[in-house]
């Protein structure tokens, strides 16, 4: 009898695992694994320069060094979007550049791998190191 109860319990847990809680798939598209603040700090760096054009051109050449093909760029918004292939998955990235005060530029990158958001700090670290090298500047962490 005890055995039977246990079996039901296992089955129950199994069903919960399979069905999950009552989230619709629409909600899934808007879920993030990190908090808003954390995500911003992972994806953003400040650079000590004010030339937006030079920064955007550096972003573009960095993306090209990383094998990305640029799809879109807009100077006014300060955005650059590119994509590349990794096996059968598409890696897509958007980088935005905007002024921070009148001495710095704020650069934010966010990337996606297939259907997964890239939220690993190391990946963005890699990106900003490469970008910094092409500018001969150091990237500052932003709180």
């Amino acid at each position: 009898m005890k055995n039977m109860k246990m079996r039901f319990f296992v089955l129950f847990v199994g069903i919960i695992v399979v069905t999950g809680c009552a989230t619709t798939t629409t909600n899934k598209a808007f879920q993030t694994s990190e908090s808003q603040v954390q995500l911003r700090s992972i994806q953003t760096r400040a650079f000590d320069m004010t030339d937006k054009t030079a920064m955007m051109q550096a972003v573009i050449s960095t993306l090209q060094d990383l094998d990305f093909v640029i799809e879109k760029a807009d100077y006014v918004v300060g955005s650059v979007t590119g994509s590349k292939f990794h096996g059968s998955k598409i890696v897509k990235i958007t980088v935005t550049v905007r002024p921070r005060g009148n001495k710095q530029l704020l650069v934010r990158a966010n990337a996606q791998y297939g259907i997964y958001a890239m939220d690993c700090p190391e990946d963005y670290q890699d990106f900003f190191i490469t970008l910094g090298k092409s500018l001969f500047l150091k990237a500052h962490k932003v709180d």
Partner: protein, 188 residues
Amino acid sequence: MKQLYVLIVFAFLLLVGCTTVPEGLLRPSEDYLEMRQLQMRKYDTTEQEMIMSSVVGVLQDLGFTLDESESELGLIVASKKADAKKPAAVAGALFLDILSAIGDGYSGTSSTGPSLTSQQDATQLVRASVITQNSLDGDKIVVRANFHRIVYNFNNEINKMETIKEPDIYQNFYDKLSKAIFLEAHKI
């Protein structure tokens, strides 16, 4: 006892999740300096507009259509659909399909799955992004082009996606660009 193990395994799966994103996607690959050499050319001029319109001209010569451009940054994005059939491969697949159809006829069964012929490369979409910008010393224009392509099979499914790294593709592009700049400069 067994059930307990099952529970523990379930709990672990829930906690650990899976690491799905491979490492180092935003790190330059080992051959990035080589790719730079391949994809970049310098031109002894400061007329960025002229270079940009020459780039557009070459892309048009190659049958590309423009998707996007941002003159402020010197960006041009273009794409082209092209044939990707390899006649020998298609013929081979067709031959195998016929053999398997004959085999099915003999055994009275029907083979499952799509035919080999429909799996072969059929069309490709090539995308190009070209950037023209001032060189660091400011007296030259640097052009950098890169291409990638998506290959579809006869069922319109994606067969492969890749960055184009063949040197002669880039060489050909820049040969044409040099010619176009000459033509542009002489208003031909």
